[in-house]
Symmetry: C2
Amino acid sequence: MSPTRRIVIMAEGHFEWHYGKTATGIIRYSQDPVVAVIDSTHAGQDAAQALGGDLGRGIPVVQDIHEALRYQPTTLIIGVAPIGGDLPRAWRAQLLTAIEAGLEIISGLHYFIADDPELRAAAERRGVTIWDVRRPPDKKVVAAYKPHRPGSHTVLTVGSDCATGKMTVAIELDRAARARGLNSAFFATGQTGIMIAGRGLPVDRIISDFIAGMVEEMTLELAAQHDWVFVEGQGSINHPGYSPVTLGLLHGSLPDAMIFCHQAGATTIEGYPHCPLPPLPRLIQMNEEVVNWLHRQHNSKVVGISLITRGLSLQQAEEAIRRTEDETGLPTTDVLRFGPEKLLTALLQHFGAATS
Amino acid sequence: MSPTRRIVIMAEGHFEWHYGKTATGIIRYSQDPVVAVIDSTHAGQDAAQALGGDLGRGIPVVQDIHEALRYQPTTLIIGVAPIGGDLPRAWRAQLLTAIEAGLEIISGLHYFIADDPELRAAAERRGVTIWDVRRPPDKKVVAAYKPHRPGSHTVLTVGSDCATGKMTVAIELDRAARARGLNSAFFATGQTGIMIAGRGLPVDRIISDFIAGMVEEMTLELAAQHDWVFVEGQGSINHPGYSPVTLGLLHGSLPDAMIFCHQAGATTIEGYPHCPLPPLPRLIQMNEEVVNWLHRQHNSKVVGISLITRGLSLQQAEEAIRRTEDETGLPTTDVLRFGPEKLLTALLQHFGAATS
């Protein structure tokens, strides 16, 4: 995103860690300043108070777009991703106000703002840009099953469920790799990652026949230019609703290695209490098997685990990490709490061993 | 389809078994007569001669739409499904001629005829209907992971690759079940099946986030009304391009049992010579595992196999079937050659045993 942006995030009713994950992702990783967050249920607090941590200190949470305009934003980001992704009706008036005030609109909803006649007409009148980041490229590409550039390393984040840190881990690993001087890229595949990176592929909006093909095309392009490609995973292979998206990423990116992401203590798919998670070692094996159905000679492996330990004490977090390491035999951390170095080291060792 | 239709099938350059599978499916299963097939490379033959068998005896293969109009068709079906699914350029003039002659157009291409300005305008002028069977419902449904009606049996056809008989087996089993007086339905999920059934869900055109949800919705609806639901599978879980579609069907329909479909003798994915097929017992186990990732208490099983033995002598076909039975321990047949009774019996026994 251009460095002149001043961002206001629309997160009405959802400015918290879970459903507000686009908002927290933008605050954490955007290159441009977030000047306000709209959520009337937290108005008057700052973002850090609303979230109950350090992230967002000094960013005001406001009642509505009218109050947000005091902070001279240039850009309204729709930072809530409800299940299904539609535009909440109550937001239409606020979006119109933002457009009339000259703000560009960036939306990650399944409902395309630029296709809404009223909002599009308002944006055209005011000369304002609408970027629906979930709008997929208008292309039809079937996967060709081509090898990646030899010497490149494609690493996909997978997990036990949605919202287990797959984007965060991919971004943190890419940044840590670049900090070490490695030639690395982050391949964004979801609305928040695309907003942060300014490019990417909204995989959950791609027609099922072409998802693997379009993921392959971008993976090959990035692996041609970079030695390390960290691909943001989506959903989970054991998710009743989103597993096809996950499989499109697994078979499209054909990762050389994976990092597994998990919410510490979770035992069922969120929102599906009757759908228990398989044990972690089995979940890890499942993801490895799925890649190796196609890619047997490469023997793709999960080489590390990132847990979300938010809400646990430091001691509890360390215990959860140790238990996971005992259960799986894999190096484990919480990248947000303890940094990505342990996982990056595991990846470097894995490929060092594999190429020696 | 209405019983007053007289069908001409456009299969230019592709009126053969493999890429012409829409054409052969329509000839075999449509309730309405096929009065001509367009393929200039076989013009002058009848369909049976062109295909090298008994199917299509007496149906003329003609040079172009002009010649086809002699047979007084009411309906032009586009019966070729090339990889990617676009409209071949050379066909535009023939489609315009058909529209101007008052024929309705039924197309299974990814390219929507009704969205083509020139063809749509021509159809509107002439008052002709265009049915793009691959156009998905304009809905957003995330799978809810709801149980099917107790007592219903959902059977999905899976396979080692595309074009291994999954539609044919589902149709044949549904017909055989109804012939035995069972309350059965066929759930069409591809262009040919939808043309034959007159309804269905074009799963390969559905956005990845919603494929499992939309398959679940239709499965639940059919299982509420029918004791047997035979779901047409697509692709294969080990296909580099189409595996997400297959997984959407597996996790959306959550089959109680599966029939596995395979081209006798195939060892790699068609069009992907570097992508070998796992051994049949492993392929079968993979499909079972994928359902049971979600659906463990049901312990969904593959209960029979249908081989395509076309091109083999009777003795060779029987040997291929016997070898497959030895290798997998599962009842095996070629439903087109030997009928579906062996597989239907296996299903009845499987569920009889399970419910006793």
